[in-house]
């Protein structure tokens, strides 16, 4: 089973879903029994969610999709 130091070191890869299944199981087992590491895990998971939500919250400029279609349309005509 993973200890605290190993768990904290590998937290990032675990959150990225990049650990092997076996290693992820060991990390999960440690998290279940360790309030401190569980707290660190939840903190970083929540931070990830906040970053993803806030950074992808972007309004498209007006007419953006039309201009995009138009530029492809011009290229289609140009190619013929």
């Amino acid at each position: 089973m993973a200890d605290c130091q190993e768990t904290l070191n590998e937290l990032e890869s675990y959150l990225d879903s990049e650990l092997s299944e076996g290693r992820a199981t060991e990390i999960i087992a440690h998290l279940k029994g360790c309030t401190d590491c569980q707290g660190a895990y939840e903190f970083h998971a929540d931070l990830r969610t906040a970053i993803k939500t806030k950074a992808s919250n972007e309004e498209l400029p007006e007419g953006f999709l039309d201009r995009l279609r138009d530029c492809l349309g011009d290229d289609v005509l140009g190619a013929q």
Binding site: A40, I51, S56, F64, D75
Partner: protein, 194 residues
């Protein structure tokens, strides 16, 4: 023509995501729109080389990332910084005790969503040197795997991991500084041993 029409229809669904990432890359709406248009044109022209059934989204992001690096990096608008200050591990987590609880909501998840504004998160990403900003965007915002990012950037997976690690820590430090500027932090509450 059929396949090309399919491309336009299929690719268009990713335009908003591509634009949001392009904006974080270029930090400018006009440049971001140009970058997405160029990505679509390149994708359209290279569609013969796209293998049907493979990941169209990853293919488009790869084209966009390469286009950005080749086009904007060569212009040297900002000197490329390869160094980033070392930030201690778990930087933000270790400082959560300094946040003024009375200004925060009850649920931990909502707390994090409320703690930083959209602009602060966007600025923290945009302030990262490009070497770190692109992997952070592709992973944290777009959810690509280390392998996909390594392929897009044409660097080893270990390099992706180390850039992500350092970039994320630097971002946490910036978010903490923003919170401090907004008066959300009382550093006297921090345990001096931390």
């Amino acid at each position: 023509m059929g396949a090309r029409e399919d491309f336009t229809n299929d690719a268009m669904q990713y335009a908003p995501q591509l634009f949001a990432t392009a904006l974080r890359m270029t930090r400018n709406k006009a440049d971001a729109e140009d970058l997405v248009q160029e990505t679509f044109l390149k994708g359209w022209r290279a569609f013969d080389s796209y293998q049907q059934g493979t990941n169209l989204r990853a293919w488009l992001f790869r084209i966009m990332t390469n286009t950005f690096i080749n086009k904007y990096n060569s212009q040297q608008r900002r000197p490329q910084e390869t160094e980033l200050d070392e930030v201690e591990e778990l930087f933000l987590f270790r400082r959560m005790g300094a946040f003024d609880q009375s200004k925060m909501s009850q649920s931990a998840e909502d707390q994090m969503l409320e703690l930083f504004t959209d602009d602060e998160v966007k600025n923290a990403i945009e302030e990262l040197p490009e070497t770190f900003r692109i992997p952070v965007l592709l992973s944290d915002v777009e959810g690509f795997s280390y392998k996909e990012i390594a392929e897009m950037l044409e660097v080893p997976i270990g390099t992706v991991m180390s850039r992500l690690h350092r970039g994320r820590k630097a971002m946490q430090k910036m978010l903490y500084e923003y919170a401090k500027e907004r008066g959300l932090v009382d550093e006297s509450l921090l345990d001096p041993q931390d």
